[in-house]
């Protein structure tokens, strides 16, 4: 029974993602990311089915979710390949990532409290700029809903890469290094892909920034969760 659930959930996930990739290619709109389409389609489907189906799917996806761990470790590869960038611009990279993380989390908690947002949602919103595999690990440690975290992270990636470049041009941030750092720090992998379209240097900055952002925000989240339990 358990094996059947695992097999079924894995096959369903792969088939759904494959189908949505085909649809996205056919439409050719980059905002319709296959992951976004798959979550919308899968979410709608399970909302219509009796809840036991979703329970079985969640139970069956444990093997797939375990793979998130080794995949997170594999993020070391793109970072290692761009180590020349970090050696070239260590202070710009570290300070930009630190400033980006600190300011965005400050806005989440001040603006969020003002609007009466529950702490669990503010935690999810704080994790939005962390690359998703690390954010999901942090969600578990900080007792934050993984689904909401996924949506927040994805929003930050898609919206950030859509409006980021124009926003940065508006305040005259023209240095390819600074643009890549800003996109990578706040919009992780999707922002980095956008930065890479601007220039290889921006792409390298994005990769380094997304890794630093994950480490900085991760450390902050862990320390705060230890203090506040």
């Amino acid at each position: 029974m358990r094996a059947l659930e695992i097999l079924g959930a894995t096959a369903f996930t792969a088939a759904l993602y494959w189908a949505c990739s085909r649809v996205q290619k056919a439409i050719g709109l980059s905002l319709l990311h296959p992951l976004l389409l798959s979550v919308l389609a899968g979410g709608t489907l399970f909302a219509l089915l009796p809840p036991v189906w979703l329970d079985a799917y969640v139970r069956g996806s444990v093997v797939l979710l375990w793979l998130l761990g080794p995949a997170t470790a594999a993020l070391a590869l793109p970072f290692y390949r761009q180590r020349a960038f970090l050696i070239e611009h260590p202070w710009a990279a570290v300070l930009a990532a630190l400033a980006g993380c600190a300011s965005t989390v400050t806005v989440v908690w001040s603006f969020g409290s003002l609007l009466g947002l529950p702490p669990s949602l503010m935690r999810a919103a704080s994790l939005k700029s962390v690359t998703l595999p690390v954010a999901l690990g942090l969600a578990q440690v900080t007792h934050t809903e993984p689904g909401i975290t996924t949506v927040c992270v994805f929003t930050s990636g898609l919206v950030g890469s859509a409006i980021g470049p124009a926003l940065l041009s508006r305040i005259r941030v023209r240095s390819p290094v600074a643009r890549g750092l800003a996109l990578g720090t706040l919009s992780h992998a999707i922002g980095t892909a956008r930065a890479l379209e601007e220039s290889p240097l921006s792409g390298a900055a994005g990769v380094v920034a997304l890794t630093l952002s994950a480490v900085i925000l991760g450390t902050g989240a862990i320390v705060l969760s230890m203090i506040f339990g």
Partner: protein, 119 residues
């Protein structure tokens, strides 16, 4: 042969992660094992204890199909929608506002430091 290499590299990454999982559970650390595995692998690569070609093909494969692994938690959001009820607009405003401020500040700080680095 190439397939065998990918499989062996996947095993290496899996063992690394399982080791971190064990360590985290053993010591009761409040750290996600994946993040620990990432930091350990960065350290191993930079210190050249592990060469890049020992994990490159398997790692690239995992990263290529990473979005697929996000589907279960993504779809699981429909179970958590009740936590957002009544706060949807506020959450969207907070996400957008904090995103814009963070990007602008990261960009400005990055540009200021880069300009100072120039001789």
């Amino acid at each position: 042969m190439a397939l065998l290499r990918i499989c062996l590299q996947l095993v290496v990454l899996g063992v690394l992660y399982a080791g971190c999982q064990w360590l985290v559970a053993r010591l009761g650390l409040p750290v996600p094992p994946g993040l620990l595995a990432l930091l350990v692998l960065i350290g191993l690569l930079l210190s050249r204890v592990v060469p890049e070609r020992a994990v490159d093909k398997g790692g690239d494969l995992l990263l290529k199909y990473l979005p697929v692994i996000f589907l279960p938690p993504g779809i699981g959001v429909i179970r958590e929608l009740h936590t957002v009820r009544g706060h949807g607009l506020a959450l969207a405003a907070v996400l957008l506002g904090s995103l814009v401020v963070g990007q602008l500040i990261a960009g400005l700080v990055g540009q200021t430091v880069v300009n100072r680095e120039k001789p």
